[in-house]
C-alpha cells in the first residue's frame, strides 16, 4: 500500500513537471505567428467565466472553426471560479488556462500574483484598446497582465412609467429619495460593483469630491477622515432606501415593482432585458453627479497548461468581429476604441460627460469595509 502511494505521488509529480513545461517557445519573445502555431499544437484551451454562456458558447464554436483549437468554456459562479484558481495556485499545472477577472476580484488575484504576463505586448490588437484599460482596472494597477475585452458602466436604471423626472445631481437624488421612500435601491457594495459605484458617488458628493484621491498608491488617512459624514447620511436615510443583495437583485426588484429606480450595470440590464427578466420600457442614464464605470478583463493563469492557446483565445475575443458579435448578442459594450456602435442604453454623451474613473483600490477596499462596519452592521 505504502509503495503504491509513493508510486502514485511520484507519477503525479512527473506528470506535473511534464505538463508544466508548457510550450517549447518563449511566448514573451515569440512572434504572433509562432504563438498561433504553438496554440494550434496545444490543441485546446479551458476558459472560465460566469456570464454570457450564449455568447461564449458561440465564440468557442467560431474559434474552433477558425483555428482548429477547441475552446472548453466553463460558466461557473464568480466566487467559485476564483476560489478554484486560488486553490490551484501552487500546483505545477492548473486546470484553468484563462479566465475573466471582474472588479470584485482584481485586487485579490493581483496581490496573489495569479496571472502570467505581462501579456499586453504579446497580443496583436493591444493598441486598439485604451491605454488606461491595460494599466488600471477599477482602481487596481494591472500593468498589462490582464487584457480588456469588455466595458461596462454603472448608471441609474428607472421605470419611466413611475419616474417622470429622474434626478441628475446629489441634492436632487436626496430630494427624490425623501419624496419616494424605499423606491430607490442599490446593491450592498460588498456584493456587487453597482453598489460600490453608488457609495463612491456618495463619498465624492458628501466628502469633498473625487480628485483628492487621484494617484495615491496607498490610503492616506487624512483623506478619509471625513467619511463619517457619508456613513451618517446612509444611516439617517437607510429606512428610505432598499439595499439589495446583488447587482442582478436590484434589477429583479425593479422588474417586480418593488423599486422604481436603482443603480445598475448597463451590460447586466441589457442581458436581463434580452432574457425576459426586465421590462423593455426600462431606461438608463448616467447622472451629472457621476457614476463609475469599469470593465472586465481576461488573464492567463501562471500555471496554465495551454498558455499559447489562452493568448490566442483572448486575442480572438478582442478581435473586432467578436467584439461586435458580443454586442449584438448580449449588448455588452466593446472595449475597443475603433468601434462605434449605436443603440446602447447609455448615450455616448452621458458616457463622455458623466462617467467617472474609480479612486485607487486601497480606498475602494476601505470604503467597502467601512460601509459594512458603519452602515450595514448598525
Amino acid at each position: 500500500m505504502k509503495k503504491l502511494l509513493v508510486l502514485m505521488l511520484a507519477l503525479t509529480v512527473v506528470a506535473g513537471i511534464a505538463f508544466a513545461a508548457g510550450p517549447s517557445i518563449d511566448l514573451k519573445t515569440a512572434s504572433w505567428d509562432q504563438i498561433v502555431a504553438a496554440a494550434k499544437a496545444e490543441g485546446s484551451v479551458t476558459f472560465y467565466a460566469w456570464y454570457f454562456p450564449d455568447y461564449f458558447k458561440e465564440a468557442a464554436a467560431d474559434f474552433e472553426k477558425e483555428y482548429g483549437v477547441k475552446a472548453n468554456v466553463i460558466i461557473g459562479d464568480q466566487t467559485a471560479n476564483f476560489n478554484k484558481a486560488i486553490a490551484e495556485k501552487d500546483m505545477a499545472t492548473g486546470t484553468i488556462d484563462t479566465m475573466i477577472v471582474g472588479g470584485q476580484w482584481v485586487k485579490t488575484t493581483t496581490d496573489l500574483n495569479l496571472f502570467y504576463g505581462p501579456i499586453r505586448n504579446m497580443l496583436p490588437d493591444n493598441s486598439k484598446f485604451p491605454s488606461t484599460a491595460w494599466e488600471v482596472q477599477e482602481g487596481v494597477m494591472i500593468n498589462g497582465y490582464l487584457a480588456p475585452f469588455h466595458r461596462n458602466q454603472t448608471g441609474i436604471l428607472y421605470d419611466p412609467d413611475r419616474v417622470k423626472d429622474p434626478p441628475q445631481t446629489w441634492d436632487q437624488l436626496v430630494a427624490w429619495i425623501n419624496a419616494h421612500p424605499m423606491d430607490f435601491g442599490f446593491c450592498d457594495p460588498s456584493k456587487g460593483g453597482s453598489g460600490q459605484a453608488f457609495v463612491f458617488t456618495a463619498i465624492g458628493s458628501l466628502a469633498g469630491g473625487f480628485d483628492k484621491y487621484k494617484g495615491d498608491k496607498e490610503l492616506v488617512p487624512s483623506k478619509v477622515a471625513n467619511w463619517d459624514i457619508v456613513w451618517k447620511w446612509f444611516n439617517d436615510n437607510k429606512d428610505k432606501m432598499t439595499i439589495t443583495v446583488s447587482n442582478n437583485d436590484s434589477i429583479m426588484r425593479m422588474n417586480g415593482g418593488e423599486l422604481s429606480m436603482t443603480v445598475a450595470w448597463d451590460d447586466n440590464v441589457k442581458d436581463m432585458i434580452s432574457k425576459g427578466n426586465l421590462f423593455k420600457r426600462a431606461k438608463m442614464y448616467i447622472p451629472k453627479m457621476g457614476l463609475a464605470g469599469g470593465g472586465d478583463t481576461m488573464g492567463v493563469l501562471k500555471n496554465a497548461q495551454h498558455k499559447a492557446a489562452a493568448l490566442l483565445w483572448i486575442s480572438f475575443i478582442q478581435s473586432k468581429a467578436q467584439q461586435l458579435k458580443k454586442f449584438q448578442m448580449v449588448g455588452a459594450y466593446p472595449a475597443r476604441t475603433d468601434i462605434t456602435i449605436e443603440g446602447t442604453l447609455l448615450s455616448e454623451e452621458d458616457r463622455k460627460n458623466n462617467a467617472i474613473p474609480w479612486f485607487p483600490a486601497p480606498y475602494k477596499d476601505f470604503m467597502i469595509k467601512e460601509f459594512v462596519k458603519n452602515v450595514l452592521m448598525k
Binding site: T12, K57, I75, D77, N83, T95, N248, M252, G257, G276
Partner: protein, 289 residues
C-alpha cells in the same frame, strides 16, 4: 339547529368536535404544504416558461406570454445534457460506496461499546458542519496530490465523503434500535454471524438504509463546491450549471429551468423510496422480516 344541539348527547358532541379538529388540522397541513412546497414549485414553473420577448413584470400578476424559450436557451447554451449524465451516474455510485463504507462503521457505533464513541459520532458529521467551499479547498489539495482530481473515481469519492455523515448517522440509529432480545433468541436457536446479518441486521436496518440512501443521493445530486474545484473542467454536474445562474449572475428564468431539471427526478425518487420505507417499517414492527 339550537334545539338539536341541546338534545345531542355529550359523546356525540365530543365526536363532532374531534372530527372538526381533525378537519382543521388536515386543512392546516394542506395549506402549509401548498404554501411551503407548491407555491415555490409553481413559481419556478412559471418563471421557467416566461417568454424572453415578453418579460413577466410589475404590475402583471401572471406572465403575459408563455413559451419554451428559457428551456431551449438552457439546453442550447449550457452543458446541461453532459451534466445530467454525470450527476445521475455519479450519485448511484456515491450511494453504493457510502453504503459499503458506512455499514461497518455504523454497526460498531450502534452496537459496540467503544471508548470515545460519542466523539467519533460527532467527528463523522464534520464534513457537513464545515462550510462547503472550505472543505472543497482543503480536500482539493489532497485529491490532487493523489491524482484523484479530474477523474470519475475521485468525484465518486468526494461525493461519498459528503454523503457518508448522513448514511452513518441514520444507520447507527437503526443499529441501536435493534432489540437485543431478537439477537439473543437467534443465537439461542443456533444462528451464526452470517445468518444474523442476513436475517436480522440487514432487514431491520433497511428503513434506515433507505433513508440514508435518500440523503446520500440528494447530497450527491446537489453537491457543488467539491465538484467544481476538483471536477471541472473535465466533469460538470447539474449544480455547477445551476450556480452560474443562481450565484453572482442571478438570472431567475434560467435558474428556474435548471432547478426544475434537478428537482423533478429527485421528487419522483423520494416518492418511490417513501413507499418502500413505509412497508419496511410495518414489516419490522410486526416481526414479519
Amino acid at each position: 339547529m339550537s334545539a338539536i344541539r341541546q338534545i345531542s348527547p355529550w359523546y356525540l358532541r365530543q365526536a363532532r368536535r374531534r372530527r372538526n379538529f381533525t378537519t382543521m388540522l388536515t386543512a392546516f397541513f394542506i395549506i402549509v404544504q401548498v404554501l411551503w412546497i407548491g407555491v415555490p414549485i409553481f413559481m419556478a414553473v412559471l418563471w421557467s416558461l416566461v417568454d424572453p420577448n415578453h418579460p413577466w413584470s410589475y404590475p402583471n400578476i401572471l406572465p403575459s406570454v408563455l413559451s419554451w424559450g428559457q428551456w431551449s436557451y438552457v439546453f442550447k447554451y449550457t452543458n446541461i445534457i453532459r451534466a445530467l449524465k454525470t450527476s445521475y451516474t455519479l450519485a448511484p455510485c456515491a450511494v453504493l460506496l457510502s453504503f459499503v463504507l458506512s455499514l461497518p462503521t455504523a454497526y460498531v457505533l450502534g452496537r459496540k461499546q467503544i471508548p470515545g464513541k460519542k466523539f467519533f459520532q460527532t467527528v463523522v458529521l464534520l464534513p457537513i458542519i464545515m462550510p462547503g467551499m472550505v472543505v472543497a479547498l482543503f480536500l482539493s489539495r489532497v485529491f490532487t496530490a493523489f491524482g484523484l482530481a479530474q477523474n470519475f473515481f475521485g468525484l465518486v469519492l468526494a461525493h461519498t465523503l459528503m454523503g457518508l455523515p448522513y448514511m452513518i448517522r441514520v444507520l447507527t440509529t437503526s443499529f441501536e434500535a435493534i432489540p437485543q432480545d431478537i439477537i439473543d433468541a437467534a443465537e439461542n436457536l443456533g444462528a451464526n454471524t452470517f445468518v444474523k446479518i442476513k436475517d436480522i441486521f440487514l432487514p431491520m436496518v433497511r428503513p434506515g438504509l433507505l433513508a440514508g440512501m435518500v440523503f446520500a443521493f440528494t447530497t450527491s445530486i446537489e453537491e457543488f463546491n467539491l465538484t467544481f474545484v476538483i471536477g471541472t473542467p473535465t466533469f460538470e454536474t447539474i449544480p455547477t450549471i445551476l450556480y452560474s445562474f443562481l450565484g453572482y449572475n442571478f438570472i431567475r428564468t434560467n435558474a428556474s429551468v435548471v432547478a426544475l431539471i434537478m428537482m423533478i427526478p429527485n421528487i419522483i425518487m423520494l416518492f418511490v423510496v417513501e413507499h418502500f420505507l413505509k412497508s419496511d417499517y410495518l414489516s419490522a414492527s410486526l416481526g414479519k422480516l
